[in-house]
């Protein structure tokens, strides 16, 4: 793995968290 596989939609992230039994790591970022 060469990079973090970020989700970019809240709904997709929450769905994955439920299916995979994992927490969501949410990063609010400033693209500069």
């Amino acid at each position: 793995m060469t990079q973090v596989n970020w989700e970019t939609e809240m709904g997709t992230g929450l769905d994955r968290a439920k299916k995979e039994g994992k927490p969501v790591f949410l990063d609010f970022f400033n693209p500069g």
Binding site: L14, A17, P23, F25, D27, F28
Partner: protein, 150 residues
């Protein structure tokens, strides 16, 4: 964060394997308002119901990423009374990242879980002594202060 803390292979593997990574622009509606995002980086650990269990504002050094994530996941389990799962993660923070910012809070939470499990105040007294000895300037040492006398 992308070019420093998220670029290290150990952090990339841990993030991809153990959490659902989600990056959202700090100005994106409705989340910017819902989460009151006023400064970045702003990092949160959520459960699948979007409940916040842990958060951090500011730059997270590369070596702090995994301890932060482990503590956040442990707090998610703590909040749902899954103490065994929480304890396993807290032990990893305490044993493998005693130097991290997450460690004093992990010690505190582990003592609270010990108390809840047996209704015995000894684990609370233990965390008071451990935090006073190893992290005397941590806010968590202050938070455990009342436990010296129970």
């Amino acid at each position: 964060m992308n070019t420093v803390s998220y670029s290290q292979s150990k952090n990339i593997s841990y993030i991809n394997d153990n959490v659902v990574p989600l990056q959202i622009n700090y100005q994106q509606a409705p989340y910017a308002e819902n989460y009151k995002v006023k400064w970045t980086p702003r990092l949160l650990i959520l459960d699948s119901e979007e409940f916040v269990h842990h958060q951090f504002v500011g730059f997270l050094q590369p070596q702090e990423v995994i301890p932060f994530l482990r503590l956040g996941e442990a707090k998610m389990y703590f909040d749902s009374d899954e103490f065994e799962k929480a304890n396993k993660l807290l032990d990893l923070v305490i044993q493998e990242a005693a130097w991290s910012h997450a460690a004093p809070e992990a010690i505190y939470l582990k003592g609270v879980i010990g108390y809840k499990a047996g209704k015995d105040p000894q684990p609370l007294r233990d965390i008071f002594h451990k935090l006073q000895k190893e992290y005397p300037y941590s806010s968590w040492a202050d938070r455990a202060f009342p436990y010296w006398s129970i």
